[in-house]
Symmetry: C2
Subunit: 279 residues, 2 copies
């Protein structure tokens, strides 16, 4: 359990290496306890949950985790069952697969499963999610939006997320699908959020104090509009391109850190960043 009574988040931008070094998934297994890990794989977002869940199960086993379980919840009824009160406390790490983030929130939102997961997270458990599984972690999440477009008034559809990470909006497949426009539009709508764009095969590890560390082969982009942004988001309609002025942009490769609450770059070598893994 970390000092802030909150576990670690590992938000992955999708497309993580599952065949070669598996750097990010290896880190997840290690942080969940290594050979002592008890990992619950939750492929709820996927349309092919059992198969995808088994695939991750094999990977986590190959990386040294002896106990893994695939929990493919397909209805709110299952998610509302009281058995999660007994099952989740035995788990040291939960992994959300990719798919459709609305499936995650519409099936799990406000259920016994979510409540117990949050309890365990507050006690220091690690929660990882890739692609849709990462998007759903934020308080408000991006559901869909146009790629390879400038920020348009209507670019981005949002919905309430699972809320493991507040004041942040996560987007994934970020550079690979040209999503800077839609994340800029999200930040313009409410600059109290930080836009966090995660490239494929790249993750951020975030602790309870708001320090993040980047892991993986590409980058995480931080879009900060808090102090100086101005936009015409309230004066535009539909497919109007937005004017968005004075946004601060940071591109962070592996090893670099950022303090989300203080909106401050921490560099690649600071003790605060190194300590994230030991939170």
């Amino acid at each position: 359990m970390n000092k802030n009574d909150q576990g670690l988040l590992l938000a992955i931008g999708g497309g993580e290496d599952r065949k070669r070094e598996k750097l990010i998934l290896k880190k997840f297994v290690y942080l969940a306890g290594g050979s002592l890990a008890k990992i619950m794989i939750v492929p709820v977002a996927s349309g092919n949950g059992e198969v995808l869940g088994q695939e991750y199960s094999e990977i986590f086993k190959s990386l040294g985790s002896l106990q893994t379980e695939v929990v493919n919840i397909t209805s709110r009824k299952e998610a509302l069952h009281s058995r999660w009160e007994r099952k989740l406390p035995k788990v040291t790490g939960v992994f959300f697969t990719g798919g459709d983030q609305l499936k995650l929130t519409s099936i799990l939102g406000g259920t016994v499963f979510e409540r117990e997961l949050k309890k365990m997270f507050a006690r220091g458990m690690i929660l990882a999610g890739t692609s849709a599984g990462a998007a759903a972690m934020s308080g408000t999440m991006i559901v869909e939006g146009l790629s390879d477009k400038p920020p348009l008034q209507c670019t981005v559809k949002m919905a309430p997320g699972l809320g493991f990470l507040q004041e942040v909006v996560i987007d994934q497949h970020f550079a690979q699908r040209g999503r800077v426009g839609r994340l800029l539009a999200a930040v313009a709508q409410n600059p109290f959020v930080i836009g966090l764009g995660l490239d494929e095969d790249t993750a951020v590890l975030v602790n309870g104090t708001g320090v993040l560390k980047v892991i993986g082969s590409q980058t995480a982009v931080v879009i900060d509009g808090h102090d100086s942004i101005s936009s015409n988001v309230t004066e535009t309609y539909g497919h109007d391109p937005l004017a968005i002025i004075g946004v601060t942009f940071h591109v962070l490769p592996s090893g670099h850190g950022f303090q989300l609450k203080k909106r401050k770059y921490l560099g690649p070598t600071s003790r605060e960043v190194e300590a994230v893994e030991f939170s």
Copy 2:
């Protein structure tokens, strides 16, 4: 001729509307003199110059320009001919088509044609270019670079441009091809330049004082790293993703203005922006 003894630049991000309203091309014809315009179309960048040149010629005629000429220079020998000393002074506007910006610079760079074009530009002529024709306008130009990638050390290949616009690097098809990574990399390499990312069917009109006005259906992005950027561009190699911290990002839709020399947003309604067309 404007007060700064310099003509207008119209840099278009490619893919401009050539079938319907033709807003940007209409503006070019108007600024070149309307029915009195004498337009020289220079399809040097294109592999199919005669056909593309004729296509633009038809469009400019349909928009009211009575005199257009296609000048498809294919060798330095042609570009070095002294006839341009007689031909260019009769022209009120020059239009560079798209294609390969290296063809523009390798054929025209340092020739009689370029020298006479610059003379006319200094006397107030309008120079327009789309896609490669826009890219080649900057002092240093982007030749190629990976799209839909984060900024990598090797992302962007640059070369000396034609130098009509200094201290700026222009990229085109900007949002549509996910090119923010390569433009960020260019700015990180030398933050004295402003990165100017032009979306398709979008142009900037720039006058001799450095004021630009956006025209078209999408946006122009201004990336400014002058005051606060830091990066690890000198400590990385090859396909390493870069750390780029503290870049300021502006997204400008049609009608909005920016003062490039002062690195200052001018808004959508200022007199300075309105005046660009009358420079």
